[in-house]
Symmetry: C2
Subunit: 462 residues, 2 copies
């Protein structure tokens, strides 16, 4: 047991802070009543529409509002209409839209795995989603068919106090920037949050456990996991033995939960429950300039118009692109200190290098002399190359110093070579259109648009 472990657990101060948080995030009686009323109305309207169709179907409310785990002020209601498993898929989609458009006449048709309708109902944001009534696990026809099973699993396990703990954990995850399974955040989903609280009993249980996690961590509530996952956190879906509910969670967000769990245990404070997106100041060009001078590094930024795609497409592509650039620059001999991607109307692939320039030559070590055939091939390849220094022998190997392809990272990024690094598809299209490479003091031109992103970059916190 480490010193930090002894006495781990919540004291009166922790409990006081949690009470203060709960005052803000627990939906009040009026809000609950409104929610109950609107939900009942909505059910009635949907039932009426189902009855006008030549099919049997039932209604299941899912998500946080179904389980009492929503945060005060959230106004999202998720209603699933469940059709028989033998219904033709096209018919299901047609019926789903018919009901949705009737109940939410001013709504929009969206598309997940089935089309669904999203719209406003009595001031609440409603998703009205059709799905199949199938058994859990392998018989699922699509991912949305899983949702009612999640609901059934949790509804018996989340009572009033558990729901309250879920809300506190959600707010904590929001506060530390790790809430949300969207592909920008790659954090903890609502369902995952609920499973963690059920697993560890309450908020304190989750915090104490996370503080001690030694990834890979595997949680399998139904002890039925049947697939291997290469993820730092594995929470086997109680309704699907093959699925890791935490698959989308990045190592960083798991580490972040661990970090802040320990911080909170040690020194509880309300700040952990305050979203950083609400508090990040915009850095201006003068401050950016000061940081650049203080760091003495060579930042390079590829700037282009954001492609017109949703965040769940954009962010993975930005990550793929910056990783491709990083790998390519490192292969060319440039040392990368840190990278980042920013996106707004424009998007930025930001690379901070040790040096923008490399010498004209690079060392290239050949095989050991003892490996005769390879060694001879290497020697022969360079023997009469007048652009190359060597081959000479260093210890037991041939070495040459040959001309480097790229001596300027900015020139590399400005060239056609950038299209060979494995960019995201839509990023590649956007760059093919036009892009700019900023260097040195021009980096300050990323303000004011990316002032907050630059604050996060130059004032990094856990």
């Amino acid at each position: 047991m480490t010193e930090g472990d002894t006495g781990d657990g919540f004291g009166s101060e922790h409990r006081m802070i949690i009470e203060q948080v709960r005052d803000q995030i627990d939906p009040g009686a009026a809000e609950r009543k409104a929610m109950r009323q609107v939900t009942a109305q909505l059910r009635n309207r949907i039932t009426a529409e189902i009855e006008s169709l030549p099919v049997d179907a039932d209604i299941i409310q899912v998500g946080s509002t179904a389980r009492g785990t929503w945060l005060a002020g959230d106004r999202d209601i998720d209603m699933f209409v469940r059709f028989p498993a033998d219904l033709d898929r096209e018919v299901l989609e047609e019926y789903g839209l018919t009901i949705g458009n009737a109940v939410l006449p001013s709504g929009d048709e969206e598309y997940a795995e089935h089309p669904y309708v999203t719209g406003t109902f009595e001031g609440f944001e409603v998703d009205l989603v059709p799905c199949y009534d199938v058994d859990a696990g392998s018989e699922l026809q699509s991912a949305v068919d899983r949702t009612p099973h999640h609901n059934r699993y949790l509804q018996t396990r989340i009572g009033e106090s558990t729901a309250a703990a879920v809300r506190v954990l959600k707010q904590f995850l929001k506060g530390i920037g790790a809430y949300g399974s969207d592909l920008r955040t790659r954090g903890f989903s609502g369902y995952l949050t609920e499973l963690l609280v059920v697993e560890y009993g309450d908020f304190e249980g989750v915090i104490k456990a996370a503080a001690k996690w030694e990834p890979p961590v595997e949680i399998d509530p139904k002890a039925h996991g049947s697939a291997a996952h290469d993820d730092p956190l594995v929470v086997v879906d109680p309704t699907d033995p093959t699925r890791n509910v935490a698959a989308v969670c990045s190592a960083r967000n798991i580490s972040r939960l661990q970090h802040y769990a320990r911080q909170f245990l040690e020194e509880p404070a309300q700040t952990y429950f305050t979203s950083p997106t609400e508090t990040t100041a915009k850095m201006d060009s003068e401050v950016v300039r000061t940081h650049l001078q203080r760091r003495g590094t060579s930042p390079v930024a590829v700037v282009f118009d954001s492609p017109d795609i949703v965040d769940d497409q954009l962010y993975p592509q930005l990550r793929k692109s910056i990783q491709g650039i990083r790998t390519a620059l490192e292969a060319e001999g440039f040392d990368v200190i840190r990278t980042a991607t920013f996106a707004d109307d424009q998007a930025v692939l930001f690379i901070e290098l040790m040096h923008r320039h490399c010498p004209a030559i690079e060392r290239h070590t050949g095989p050991p002399i003892a490996v005769r055939e390879h060694a001879s091939e290497f020697y022969t390849a360079y023997e009469s190359d007048t652009d190359t220094y060597g081959p000479f022998i260093d210890d037991d190997r041939y070495v040459v110093e040959r001309e480097r392809t790229w001596t300027d990272a900015a020139a590399f990024l400005r060239s056609e070579a950038i299209f060979d690094v494995g960019l995201g598809a839509q990023i590649e299209e956007a760059l093919a259109d036009t892009y700019t490479v900023l260097i040195e003091d021009d980096i300050t031109a990323l303000t004011p648009e990316f002032g907050e992103s630059l604050t996060r970059y130059f004032e990094p916190t856990a």
Copy 2:
């Protein structure tokens, strides 16, 4: 079998070239006769001196002139006077010097493990060394006592044709710069050369074997090796089961023999028998400048007066010093392309860097978050350090970007920090006196003194 292996072996061209080499290096009849005569005179003189002492001793001629393996023009004669094993060491030393000074009246007293006298006798360079008459191996009182045993072992095994092969191999090793067990060269000693020829039968045998060596190579002529050696080439001394005759051989020189053996097999030429020290041109400052510009690197040179010590002390200390500097600079984040040491009246520690400057910050990666105690210590150490960026989380670890101690390699070398890198003792003394750090174009000031060394550096061959 690789293609290069098929048909490995000497053809008529190889034999012709070896004949041409032998014409130059085989001592002629007159030289042999002179050697015989001088040796006989020397023995007589020594015998007379021994007879005037109250002790029994015999005379053993050792080394290449004893075994007929000397190269034409070599005028070194090694005579050992062997005293009874029970003779007091001080008495042995006294007698040794008495005989030496009498026989070589204009000679100098030198010191190996015993003092000995070196001087000129009838135009030949004579070493006259006292030693003990002891059995081989563990009973040796000092390393020189081993020499007569080497002699006895080889004398029965080196006939006329083997001696000729030894001479050819010696000349080949000289030609490729790998001959000599001094600590500057770290190459093949005469004794080692002889053992290799005895082992592989003739020059062709050695060349064919070396071309195929896959280090570590172990040769144990008497199959009595009793010690483990961490050397790429191990030739167990036939007169001492614990000793590796090739211990001083550097990996580079072994690789060099392998390389040139293959080259010679493939395309025989006389040039392999021509010493590079006879052919290296002196590079002038203009050519140095051209290379520096072409390479685009950042060379730094520490220049100081050579300490007044013998090469066998100087070169190991130079190597230790440059390795210490390299390690220290790499630890500070500088990338080293190549290093070298030059020595004449002045000595030079030469370091060629990717960049002379590094940014003001350096990335410092901490422990994985999962390793709670270490991670917390790391976090606490940097948490309130305002000179540090972070700690932030990257994947599953804490990271900080902290101020770099040294951003200029030349400033590092000019500072007291150079005395902490593990310099050789006399190098440290010399630097404590005074030294200069040359950068950029000032490197050209190393000409003309180090013109040949710079040629070897900037026009490296195997």
